[in-house]
Assembly symmetry: C2
């Protein structure tokens, strides 16, 4: 995360933890004793309304940070989507470290501001986009996130179930399924498997997100 000495210290205080897919391992309101970062797997940050409606408010991928220094309570439920490995630190010890190493505070600030930017992009999606645009934006985000490593048309993993996607996009699972079918029939994407897709027409997909040509998703 930062430089040698700090890394060494982080190293001494860290411990690993694994969680099985589907398990909610942090609950809103519980005391926040450990911070962690995702090593392997995927998790979601969720909030549930009193009558059971739920909204995913964050997607945690490897290297993402879980919990926030300076708060004593957990703010959102955290659920493992796949099997998950976390690297954990004692919160108070970590906070001390942050206070002593300015670099780390700056790095944390940068990460928080990036997350804030993507949360705001997501607010536009939730507040103003149509179902079709939401789905296209979601697929486009996955493409951008995976493209880093592979060249072009490798199949991309769809890590969430239809229901989880729906809770992420503020839709119902039926609408998710229908819109995916429509994009498939239109030839923008193709599924080889319920959980893996290939983009056939990236330009059309991005057109379908409704975003300005220039400034789409930041994540």
């Amino acid at each position: 995360m930062c430089d040698d000495q700090e890394l060494a210290r982080l190293d001494r205080m860290k411990s690993y933890r694994t969680i099985k897919a589907g398990e909610t391992f942090l609950w809103r309101g519980d005391p926040l004793v450990q911070l962690s970062s995702v090593v392997r797997g995927i998790a979601t940050l969720n909030k549930t309304l009193e009558d059971g409606r739920t909204q995913v408010v964050g997607l945690l991928l490897p290297s993402d940070f879980v919990g926030r220094p300076g708060r004593s309570e957990i703010g959102f439920d955290v659920t493992a989507v796949t099997d998950l490995t976390l690297c954990c630190f004692d919160r108070q010890e970590f906070e001390r470290l942050v206070q002593e190493t300015p670099r780390l505070a700056q790095r944390m600030l940068e990460m928080a501001l990036d997350e804030l930017d993507s949360a705001r992009e997501w607010m536009v999606l939730l507040g103003r986009k149509t179902a079709r645009e939401k789905i296209a934006s979601f697929l486009d985000m996955l493409v951008r996130r995976t493209r880093v490593k592979d060249g072009q048309l490798e199949p991309i993993a769809l890590p969430l179930t239809r229901d989880e996607i729906a809770n992420f996009l503020g839709l119902t699972l039926e609408t998710v399924s229908r819109q995916l079918s429509i994009l498939r029939k239109e030839g923008l994407v193709e599924f080889q498997d319920r959980r893996h897709f290939v983009v056939l027409d990236l330009a059309a997909l991005q057109e379908a997100t409704g975003d300005d040509a220039d400034g789409g998703m930041i994540v």
Copy 2:
């Protein structure tokens, strides 16, 4: 913001700027040369889709920070809702100051994390709440924000037009107007003026937000 010496230094580098109500004074994509904090007035952070739909992604009140250190481009349009006074700092100079004063970085981190929490609460509102719940949540937020100073039933200022509220809540201005009328007819709130309301039944208002009894808005 922090301690004496830093404050003094901030003091030397600051300058003031005033903006007239309605003016959009920062545009997405423009170079970010100054950071600032709101001294007086209200502003909104906006994003506009290609076809003109807009979503407010942040409400800036006095003491809120505008712009983000470590980015060279403006990420969202910023519009003055009322006449506005800003206290501005040169971005690069401010960044230098942040690097040299760990305290400041920590304070910035805290602010960023608080904003992130409220952005996430807002995502729940945008993705899952009904129009009625959105309006109730909005009024409740205003109550919480003003309650700090006054005792109980003082009239609360509604700083935005119906249209701006709609863009904040992901609704249309007609729906905003209708839902406000309904809450009025039900006796939860009363308007003395298009822009000032009194809460008559706070418990019922909070009930109508749809939030869990305990964990509502963080802001």
